[in-house]
């Protein structure tokens, strides 16, 4: 384990930025959720790397990585259900055209 901690942090930062770019630049609502998944994975890399490099005897990092898994699963289930529901009534998944609640 001679890899410095900063390498993991920089990898996670890069993955987070790519995910952010995907969320902000894509038109399709499903593609936006794909970007969110990338960002959540970047967070998980950080949590596990800090766990391993700082205090492997305490399980804080791994426990919160598992909670992030649960949150990601919940987010995807509800998000895709919303997209499919909107698709059924409006025949579109383009985020710009879903403006039902626009003032």
């Amino acid at each position: 384990m001679s890899t410095p901690l900063s390498w993991y942090l920089i990898l996670a930062a890069a993955l987070f930025s790519i995910g952010l770019f995907g969320v902000l630049s894509r038109k399709n609502a499903i593609a936006i959720l794909l970007g969110v998944e990338l960002m959540l994975n970047a967070v998980n890399i950080n949590l596990v790397a800090f766990w391993r490099y700082l205090d492997p005897a305490k399980m804080t990092g791994q426990v919160f990585a598992i909670i992030v898994f649960a949150v990601a699963a919940a987010e995807v289930a509800v998000g895709l259900a919303l997209i499919i529901s909107v698709y059924r009534s409006r025949k579109t998944v383009v985020a710009d055209e879903i403006d039902l609640m626009k003032w």
Binding site: Y8, F16, E37, V48, R52, A73, L80, I84, Y87
Partner: protein
């Protein structure tokens, strides 16, 4: 350059390349498959970090459940945004600039911390991390409360997803 670092760099190249393809490729189904590749790279990273349980959970939950859910959603909503044509906004350079700025700021901050150059502490001998993880998740003086909150969140998401995705209510 030790073997550890070479494996890490290969893994990082896999993750970042697949992530870039995920956000830029035109066909949505290909984007979902590239996401699977990126998630698999992260699972390898967890294995390198000696978090074997998380590597397995990553494969089972992320690749086995979430990615398949994405592929189903793509198939169910396929014909709207035909895979042809512009998939990104016309002003895509603003998010690109923002991402690069955030990446630059984060890298600057990380490299500015001398403490982050450290290498991993020795894994304490005789410690069963999987047993510790299980105990920590249900022990009252550790993380039982976040654990229960996560289960309630999952239940709420399950009920909500079923309610939203079921069609005509009457």
């Amino acid at each position: 350059m030790t073997a550890d670092q070479i494996i890490f760099l290969l893994c990082a190249a896999l993750i970042l390349g697949s992530a870039l393809m995920t956000v830029t490729t035109r066909k949505l189904i290909h984007a979902a498959l590239w996401l699977v590749a990126a998630l698999f790279g992260v699972a390898i990273l967890f294995a390198i970090l000696q978090a074997g349980f998380l590597a397995v959970v990553q494969v089972v939950v992320y690749i086995g459940a979430i990615a398949i859910l994405f592929i189903f959603a793509v198939m169910l909503t396929r014909r709207v945004v035909l895979d042809k044509g512009q998939q990104t906004r016309s002003n895509w350079w603003i998010p690109a600039l923002l991402g690069l700025l955030i990446l630059g700021g984060l890298v600057f901050l990380i490299l500015g911390q001398p403490d982050f150059g450290r290498t991993a502490v020795e894994m304490p001998t005789g410690v069963d991390t999987l047993r510790n993880l299980g105990t920590a998740l249900v022990s009252p003086d550790a993380f039982v409360l976040p654990f229960e909150v996560a289960s309630i969140l999952l239940l709420a998401a399950l009920v909500g997803a079923v309610y939203i995705a079921t069609g005509n209510k009457e």
